[in-house]
């Protein structure tokens, strides 16, 4: 599964949290008090010197240059790996014929539905188990046990149950999205600083008011870490789900490209997954900026 590996690597570069996801297990990581800042790369924080930027860009640029040069000189066998311009023209063709969008939209739809179901469920269960002792007692042991099952392992079972239509694909994506959000929301709500809770109580907050004004705002950093992992893992689940018996989708495109030795189309698909992973990261970072404006302004003290 070369494609999967490449995509995983792209994801891993995009975010350290995604790296755990790419390792194939459902990550349980809950970074410490620092929350999403620990997850985000340090790059967002300080300005880089031109020299630094140059050095960091040098290796990727060199690799690209080698690819161009190698393909042009014939060092790289184009039956093994296509030239950059072949990938470019394959991309243009896929776009102009509408094939790309036809399949990409199906993939996007699957993740949207699967993530909406699994993510919302994970978020809700996490809040309930985090807030109420009874909820914790009823939900947490079961979910902690279930999360040890690698979600990809249930794919064959789901296919036997539901056949090869959309349902097993969406269920796998939902199952993948559920756990990271559950775990991070649960621990985020649980670990709200007791001292701040106490202050809330002293100043007259009770019940729902305490939840709304102290507990949820304080848990948001954790929830966002969960969201980031959830979205990355959903993509992973999508790739696996689409590669078995899908009539449409980016995964289907890849499988048929593989069968017809369309190397250029394969590479285009891998790049699309990579861009997807990157966009997920950018979206969550954007959300962090909106929801946690104070995180960027923190003092070190």
């Amino acid at each position: 599964m070369t494609a999967g590996t490449t995509t995983s690597r792209a994801l891993a570069e995009a975010s350290p949290v995604g790296a755990a996801a790419a390792a194939g297990t459902v990550p349980t990581t809950v970074p410490g008090a620092d929350g999403p800042r620990a997850g985000a790369t340090a790059s967002g924080r300080k300005k880089r010197s031109p020299r630094d930027v140059l050095l960091r860009a040098s290796v990727p640029t060199a690799i690209l240059a080698l690819w161009f040069l190698g393909s042009a000189q014939g060092w790289i066998d184009e039956k093994q790996f296509p030239a950059p311009w072949q990938v470019g023209s394959a991309f243009v063709e896929l776009v102009s014929t509408g094939v790309l969008w036809e399949n990409l939209s199906v993939s996007l739809g699957r993740v949207a539905v699967g993530f909406a179901v699994g993510g919302l469920l994970g978020l809700t269960l996490g809040v309930v188990a985090g807030l109420f002792r009874l909820g914790d007692q009823l939900l947490d042991p079961t979910l902690q046990m279930l999360r040890t099952i690698p979600f990809l392992a249930i794919a064959p079972l789901l296919i036997l149950w539901f056949g090869i239509d959309e349902r097993p694909k969406i269920i796998i994506i939902a199952a993948a999205a559920l756990f990271p959000l559950y775990l991070n929301t649960h621990s985020g709500v649980r670990n709200v600083d007791r001292k701040i809770l106490e202050a809330g109580k002293v100043f007259g907050l009770r019940g729902l008011g305490l939840v709304r004004h102290v507990i949820l705002p304080e848990a948001i950093p954790s929830v966002l870490v969960g969201l980031r992992v959830s979205l990355s893992v959903s993509l992973l689940a999508l790739i696996v789900a689409e590669m078995s018996n899908a009539p449409r989708g980016i995964g289907f495109l890849m499988v048929s490209a593989q069968q017809y030795f369309q190397m250029d189309v394969l590479v285009v698909c891998v790049l699309i997954y990579a861009v997807w992973g990157l966009s997920v990261d950018l979206v969550v970072r954007g959300l962090e900026r909106v929801l946690l404006p104070y995180k960027r302004l923190g003092r070190k003290s």
Binding site: A199, V202, F203, L205, G209, P217, P293
Partner: protein
Amino acid sequence: MSVPTVPDLAAPTAPTAPTVQVRGVGKSYGDRTILENFSLTLRPGEFVALLGASGSGKTTLLRILAGLEEHESGTVEAPAERTVVFQEPRLVASKRVGSNVILGQRSTRDRRAAASAALAEVGLGGREAAWPTTLSGGEAQRVALARALVRNPRLLLLDEPFAALDALTRIKMQALVAELCHEHQPAVLLVTHDVDEAILLADRVAVLQDGKVGVELEVPFERPRRRGVPGFGDFRRRLLLELGVEEAIGAA
């Protein structure tokens, strides 16, 4: 308007009706007795410092008065209008300074104006929109003070509020607290292990010994107070002795 007359609870029935009355309170954690037959009275507007070594139970008493902990025996009478400044600012990181000050209150225009006024009082006028993470330790603690004062408490509980500040900030904060308490006149209970701080701020110092108030002394100095006025050293030594500390550093 024929509103039935409600007895004004704030108005004392007798001129000396106490704000806080603690009688014979006991509290233990497991088999460790923290408070035993503890009694203390605070009159309206009175500033009392409760001195004690660490682990002596002074914070436990404050938490009982704040309603954060239950006592096991005895009676505690404290007004519902009570607020606390803790050792740490304990601000909600995701709320701006102004919203933190009126945490738990409706954000009406009235309250926001009150928050601004309280912030101005603690020297943070115009900082309503700042995020707590951008404040220095002293500034954050001043926000906590504004949050406690904006509610016009009848009882202000101070749980070593200066302990985590650097020495210079501490001096400024102590002056600020003295000034604001003089202005607003709540009854104040300051829990501290800092003898100087107790003498500088309090009308009366109570020393916690073996779970109860062992010694209670009126502070005999005029305000504004300074370290080193005649008698300060003796008074200080006396309190330190009560705390079991003999102060002599260097060779005899």
